[in-house]
Structure formats: structure tokens, C-alpha cells
Symmetry: C2
Subunit: 506 residues, 2 copies
């Protein structure tokens, strides 16, 4: 999905290269302005842009720390941002459920798993800070009324089961309760409110923002721009840019509008770019993650993603050309997405691999019914039927499944080194549930550089930009090359809480 | 080498994370300013920042296209920037020397080689534009008086021999003649002139710059800041940021001050960051290249780099732990640098691999004498002596060399698929010349996004920032993950020339 026409007065022009050389009609305006002599239309104490996990957690925490006048501004008509449609997966080390289930875990282990996925360039201090406060953030959601499945999941790249999931299998199971909690606490929430730039003091400090009201995403409409003074500062919780096709193509020309994307349409990155205009350091923008659990048979995150995330530990992923496994089904996201993209027919065309699960094991996940109902997953009574349907060579497939079932039995996968703990007793046997897999653009590892106080670094001074804080996907560097699944919610929430604490101490 | 203390009033503070939370003494200032009511101290026609390949080529081309008042501003005391100390290697397809030597090449072949090294995210349109104009740029250097070795080289990742090298084996063999040419043409060249930010019109167009004179790099000194109006616009040719340790560590925390760097000390990236403040799109900053031809036995680019670049095609690179080859000696830079970094002892400590060349073949390169003289390379009369000196297991080493010599004979390397064309008749035999290899930070693939008119894209409008052009290493995205050797000079010069042409047409 492209947002080329969805950005109102700031249209993205297709074909920068092609259009260049002709007269430029709409010049580039520096959007942030010096605040000298500006007329303030309104004054607030704490000003938060964005209403996803990070913004909501920041608002709650600021209020708990004594703020009396907290405002959240959301550009869309609905609250929750991209968070509301994510998978609702929350990793934390040392949780009550881990104790119940006898899972040994620690901050160190979780950080080590993430560093491995980050391929040497993750920010260890930030990862540790988040892991140390993850249980506290989980508690904030429980206090607000979030409900979780009564079991833990072990997601790809995690060395143990440490992931909670909301019973609605969706981030809305967290954003909705947090939003209600905000309103109970007296936080002011404004929708259709579009951030238009910072208002900056003589020393470069952020004094407030320009905010357009009555904003209708994707429409060119006037609205009224107000200058809002933020007494304690501004928290930018504006999310990633996966839905901004031009900007993601600047990093990777293969991520065209035709490539699937799991994100909400509002994930277009203006907040991040405005911070770069203030001097924030861009980190890792080139590292854009594709989700290896997505299906080419439905739009966005869909039903298959959560289905396959749950089922990967006790499933086999099969290359349809060879009938063989081609990856560790619970390797980290980048490893799996890269492996899937290599599944091609003899001519090099995409040949989405299939994930085969025993129906008896798959059906424990609530999405299984929906996957079958909406024809984005299929049930087969025999391996022959399955192989014929997907044109997979039968003999190698049968042999592969027999070999894999032996790994389930011995709890050892010599083929791809998969951790077989969660596969124990779960043999691949008829009837089968099958979905197709193909990566979709899911997450931007890159963004503005922050420290463990959620302060934003200035590229010249090397110090924090006063009055400015950032949290969540708008920040970069934390996860390095590739983020592990279920590590975004704890990051967003912990850094949102951290931003609020830093601001209330400043 | 660290530049933490070399940046004058804009000091980079070590440990942003650690320092945070305390009161911030020096706030972040937006450095560029609206030009409303500014008093212009001086007016020029064409204003170029930076005096490396890109800046010099831009100045010459602007003059040829009719500009009468062209100014180059250089912050260092000397002209030439990092270009002056690079390897002087210039790749171009379809050159006179290729015709003489019977090498078949084309724009398409050169672009294809670079796309492969770019690992799917290089900018094909820019690569093609540069390849199409590379011979023209080479001619500009010849017209100015540059002298080249009378042979072509086939560098790593190039499918044919297409690389010229200056007789001085150094970029100064190009920057010096171009600088003389500039002066002949009446270009005004200013050294110790520090760019301090843009002056921007009401519509976001670049009208001029703030420039500090009498600037002494690394010293905190006053100088005088002038406002200089640039009638036709500003060309930013300010280079990369490999010497800015804080900023490169933001992308890759392993690139500490202790990691070697081949760049001139002025490569600190302020110009790039100032363009981000105008709204330029940051592309691929995380992709920082290390040179696989560098030696841990000398500082910077040194003597070994050019020595080994020349000798790789007819040499074996040996892992000292195993006595075996560990890479294709002419693979692309990233492939080789990654392979070298994997050469470690049993405890995981760095064990720099060795490059073994027949002395008779190595001595054709002028640096061989210097390498031996300064003890950064060594001559051995026998394989036993060599193995003992570097503590390499003798038997596997002897066997490896025998096997490799067979590949030379058959012109086929089944071990690593090396193209053996340039190794023809060049057996590895005593006496030997040997150097040690270890990657050094060399090149920033990342920078601001430009188009084939050298215009700088604005992140919000998607259009060019009026009055602003950029060329050379300050730009990003062209090469993708990894640039091929000898492709920087053509890029810098072609895009410098292109910037001048675009400006003169605008």
C-alpha cells in the first residue's frame, strides 16, 4: 500500500530522480521555527505526540509522577496508532508466568538474545534498560486491565519462553486499557491533531509545537494551526515509517509500494524527520525488518501472522521446490525472512514456502478457525493431498517429515539446530493445517538516537536537545540490524515511562 | 584516532548515555538560519564547500559552463581533503587503456559489478549516471595533467581490469592538477574557511552560507563569521564522517576510537548533518566500509594498502591458525573485510591473516620497496622461514600453496571461485613478500539522498531543496551496502561535474 497521496499538503512526489531538473513548484520549507515573539495559543504541562504504547505509557507515568496537565495528540481519527494492530506480544524476563512454568530467565539472557539478533550493532545499554524495567511495564498493562493468554510463547531468536500475548492476540488489548486508564487519570486526549513542527527557543531548546486541528489523514484540508507551549517539554512517540514508501525506498529500492506491509497507514515518519531537522542523529534507517510469519494470501498483519508465530515451534517450514526444510523455524526474524525470500522457482519467481502443522496442535490457537474460514490457510487429511495441492515433490516431503519427527522425539535438530523444547511430543501428523509464508515490511529499526533517559542526542553538541524526549519505534539503534519479536512493546512502554520520568525530574 | 577534541566550539561529548540526566550546559542550536534581514558580507556566483575530487571537478565544470565567480571553501589548512590521501584508483568502462589491453567492458558491466557489491540496495540510476560519464571525468584529470601507471588493475569485485592508478599511487595525483587547473581558470580557493550553516530564504531555498575565516582545525578560536550570498547556489562536497568517532559509533558501537581509520582527520561530517537539518533524507548511514587491504602494522592508509590492492590478484591470503586460504582474494571489500575479521586465535583474539606474494611479482609495484624498508612487510627466502616467522602450521601451508599454484595453471579456483585471469603465470614461489592484513574504517556509504542532477531531496516535499547540490562521499545510497574499490573517484568527479551543470542550467 502506498501513501503517496495520503500526506495532505506535504505530498510525496514519485520519481524524485525523474522529476528533477524541471522547475520545483513547492520549495522545501524548514518546518520548525524559532519561537521568538510567537503568540502561544495554549499552554500545557506535558505534551505527547502519538498515542501508541509509548505515548500512552508516558502519559500514565507522567501523571503518576505528579503532572497535572498532560496532553496526548494523535493525528489519526482513532487512538492507538500502529500499536493497536500489532500482535500484542510482550517479552519480559523474570515474570510470574515464567516462575509458574518453571522457565529460568534473566535480564542478561534476554539482552544476550537481542544482541545476537542485532548482529553486533545493537545498543546494549538501551536493551538492558528496557529488560530491567519490562516487568514493571507489563504490570502497568495488568493494572490497566489488559488480559493475557494463560501460557507463555517462545518466539524466534528467544532462548526461552518469555512472551505474553493478549487474549485478543492484538496490541489493542493493551492500547485500549491504557487509553481508558489515561482518561481516568485526567489525561487530555486529542485526535485528528497533526504535529506540524517544533517551536524552538534561542538556545535550541524545544519550547512547544505547532499543531493542526481537524486533520483528516490523506486529505488536503485547512485545519487551524495553534502554537502550543509545553512547559515541561515534548515527548515524541510518533512511531516508524514503514508506510512511507518513498522514504523506505530511499533505504531499500526493493521495498516498493507493491511489497506488503503490516503497519497502520499512519506510520509515515514525519515526527522522526522533524527531529532530524532539529539535529537529532539518524541511526540505522537502512535496517527495515520484514516479518517472516506473514502470508501472501491476505493484506497487512492479517490472521496468519499470529497463527504462525504461535505454531512455528511445532511446525515445519518447507521449500515447495525441494520438499525440504530450509530454515530453523524459530531463528530470528531476519534469518527467516532472508531464507523465505530465497524460496523461488526455477525461473527465480517467488515461490512462497509452506508451514505445515499438525491440526491437533494448531487448533489450540484461536486464529486457526479464522485462517481456515477465510481461505488463507488449508486443512488436509493426508500428506498426498497436501503435496498435490501445493505441487511439492511427495517423496522428499514425506522423508523430511519423518526425519523431523525423529528430531521431535530425540529433542535434537541436527538439520538446522532448532531448539526443540517447545516441540516436545508435537509430531507433524495428519490431519495438517498449512499456511503460505512471505515476508512483509513490519518494523523500522532505525530512527533518532536516544540515551537511557529517552533524551534525544544533538549531532553537533553530542548533548541532549533540551525539552525533547523520544520513545518507541521513532527511535533507532536499540535493536541493531534486526529486532526480536515481542521486544517492541516492552521497549515502547519502558522508554515512554522513562521519558516521562526524565521530564518530571528535569 | 579520535577527534573528540578536534571540533572546536562544537565539541563531541563522550558518553552521551553516561552524561545524560545532568544539566546540559551547551544547548543544541539549530545552526542554519532564516536569511530575513541578514546583512550579506559578500556575494559570489558559485559557492562550493570542500576541495576534494567533487569540489574541484564542480569548480572546473562550472567555469567551463560560463560561471565567472566560482569559490571553493576548505576548512583545513591544505586543499584536497580526504581525496588527497586516497589510493588514486579510478575505475571507468570503455577507456583507451582497456582498448589497448583488449579488455571488453561496458557501462552495463560496471553497473552490474557495483549492484552485486551493493547487495540489492544500491541506487542503479546513480551508478549508471556515473559509469556513463566516468571516461569524461577521467579525461578532465588527464587534461589537467594527472599521470597514470601504464597498466590497468582488476580490483576486488570488478569482473574485468578497468582501474587506472595515478603514478604517485595516491589521490593527490589528481587533486593537485585539478587545483592548479582551478587556479588557472580563476577559481577562488579559500582555506581555513569553516562552513557554519546555511542561510535560507522564505521558501526554504538556500540563499547562502555562514562562513568562519581563519579557522584552525581542532582549536577553539574565534575567527570571523561572514554571511556569503551564493547567487546560483551551494554545492556541498564535504566528504564522509569516518573520522567522527561518536557519529560512526552511533551506527556501529564497535567502531571505537581504537579502530584504525584510513581517512584524513577532517572527515567529520558536519556538512552532512547540516543538510539533515534542512530536511535532507539520511540514507544508509549504518553502512560504513572497512578496507580489507589495510595493515595493522602502520597508521592510516599507509604503504601496504596500495601494495596489497595491486598484489591481491596474484597472491594468497592465509589464515595463520590453519595455514589455509580463507577468502577469494579479489572478492568485494565487505566480503573480504568480514572474512579477515573472522581470523582469530583459539581465544578469539585478532590474528591478522597474511598475504603471500612471489617477490618477483610484487616488486613491480613501487610500494614494495617502502613496505620492506619500513618493516610493514617482510621478505622470506623459503616457505619454512615464512611459516616459522608467522607461526603458521607448515604442512597445510605448503599444501595450500601447491594447490593454489595448480589453480594458477588451470586458471580455475574451485576453492573460492577467484577469477584467475590476472594471476596467469604468476605462481606463488620463493622468495616471498608478505604483509599482514586487518580492516580499517575507510568509507561511509551513507549520506544525503541525491538524484542524477546532484539535487538534494527534501524529506517532506519529496522535491529538491532549491539552491542546494551535493556530490561525493557526503551523499548516500549510491553504492548500497558496500562500495567497490576505485569507484569513489569517478563518483565524486562525475557528481561534482553534474552539480555544476545542474546549477548552471537552473
Amino acid at each position: 500500500m502506498s501513501n503517496k497521496d495520503l500526506l495532505g499538503r506535504r505530498n510525496f512526489i514519485k520519481g524524485f530522480g525523474a522529476a528533477a531538473g524541471v522547475a520545483m513548484a513547492a520549495p522545501a520549507l524548514a518546518v520548525s521555527e524559532k519561537a521568538d515573539g510567537v503568540k502561544w495559543d495554549k499552554e500545557v504541562e506535558v505534551l505527547i505526540i502519538g498515542s501508541g504504547f509509548a505515548g500512552l505509557a508516558a502519559a500514565i507515568e507522567a501523571t503518576r509522577k505528579g503532572a497535572k496537565d498532560v496532553h496526548i495528540f494523535e493525528k489519526m481519527s482513532y487512538f492507538g496508532g500502529n500499536s493497536a494492530i500489532n500482535g500484542g506480544l510482550f517479552a519480559a524476563p523474570g515474570t510470574p508466568m515464567q516462575k509458574e512454568e518453571g522457565v529460568k530467565d534473566s535480564v542478561e539472557t534476554m539482552v544476550a538474545d537481542q544482541l545476537a539478533s542485532g548482529r553486533g550493532i545493537a545498543d546494549e545499554a538501551l536493551l538492558r534498560h528496557v529488560a530491567e524495567h519490562a516487568v514493571e511495564a507489563l504490570q502497568m498493562t495488568l493494572d490497566a486491565g489488559s488480559e493475557y493468554h494463560p501460557y507463555l510463547q517462545q518466539l524466534g531468536g528467544h532462548s526461552v519462553a518469555r512472551t505474553y500475548q493478549t487474549t485478543v492476540s492484538c496490541g489493542a488489548g493493551i492500547t485500549q486499557p491504557l487509553l481508558q486508564e489515561c482518561r481516568k487519570l485526567g489525561v487530555h486526549t486529542h485526535n485528528r491533531a497533526k504535529f506540524e513542527g517544533f517551536l524552538v527557543g534561542d538556545k535550541g531548546e524545544v519550547l512547544g509545537v505547532k499543531m493542526r486541528d481537524n486533520y483528516h489523514f490523506g486529505e488536503d484540508q485547512p485545519g487551524k494551526v495553534s502554537n502550543i507551549r509545553a512547559k515541561r517539554g515534548v515527548i515524541m512517540a510518533t512511531g516508524g515509517f514503514a508506510q512511507n514508501v518513498d522514504l523506505r525506498m530511499a533505504q531499500d529500492p526493493t521495498l516498493t509500494a507493491e511489497v506488503g506491509c503490516t503497519n497502520a497507514p499512519g506510520a509515515t515518519g514525519e515526527g522522526m524527520y522533524e527531529m532530524f531537522r532539529l539535529g537529532a542523529v539518524p541511526v540505522h534507517l537502512a535496517h527495515i525488518q520484514s516479518g517472516p510469519w506473514a502470508s501472501p494470501d491476505e493484506g497487512g498483519f492479517g490472521y496468519v501472522s499470529n497463527y504462525s508465530i504461535y505454531n512455528f515451534p511445532h511446525s515445519v517450514a518447507i521449500d515447495r521446490l525441494t520438499g525440504k526444510r530450509f530454515m530453523n523455524e524459530i531463528a530470528d526474524r531476519k534469518t527467516r525472512a532472508d531464507a523465505e525470500l530465497n524460496c523461488r522457482d526455477a525461473k527465480g519467481n517467488a515461490l512462497p514456502p509452506i508451514l505445515i502443522t499438525s491440526y491437533e496442535d494448531s487448533k489450540k490457537h484461536p486464529n486457526t478457525k479464522k485462517v481456515l474460514k477465510y481461505n488463507v490457510g488449508w486443512k488436509f487429511d493426508s500428506i498426498e493431498q497436501l503435496a498435490k495441492h501445493f505441487e511439492v515433490p511427495l517423496a522428499p516431503l514425506k522423508q523430511q517429515i519423518a526425519e523431523y519427527n525423529e528430531y521431535v522425539k530425540t529433542q535434537n535438530d541436527p538439520q538446522f539446530g532448532k531448539n526443540m523444547t517447545e516441540a516436545k511430543g508435537k509430531y507433524i501428523q495428519a490431519p495438517f493445517t498449512v499456511v503460505r509464508l512471505w515476508p512483509k515490511v513490519h518494523y523500522c529499526q532505525g530512527g533518532v538516537q536516544i540515551n537511557t533517559n529517552a533524551e534525544v542526542k544533538d549531532s553537533f553538541t553530542g548533548q541532549a536537545i533540551p525539552g525533547l524526549y523520544a520513545a518507541g519505534e521513532v527511535c533507532g539503534g536499540i535493536h541493531g540490524v534486526s529486532r526480536l519479536g515481542s521486544c517492541s512493546i516492552p521497549e515502547c512502554m519502558v522508554m515512554g515511562m522513562t521519558a516521562a520520568r526524565s521530564m518530571m525530574k528535569a
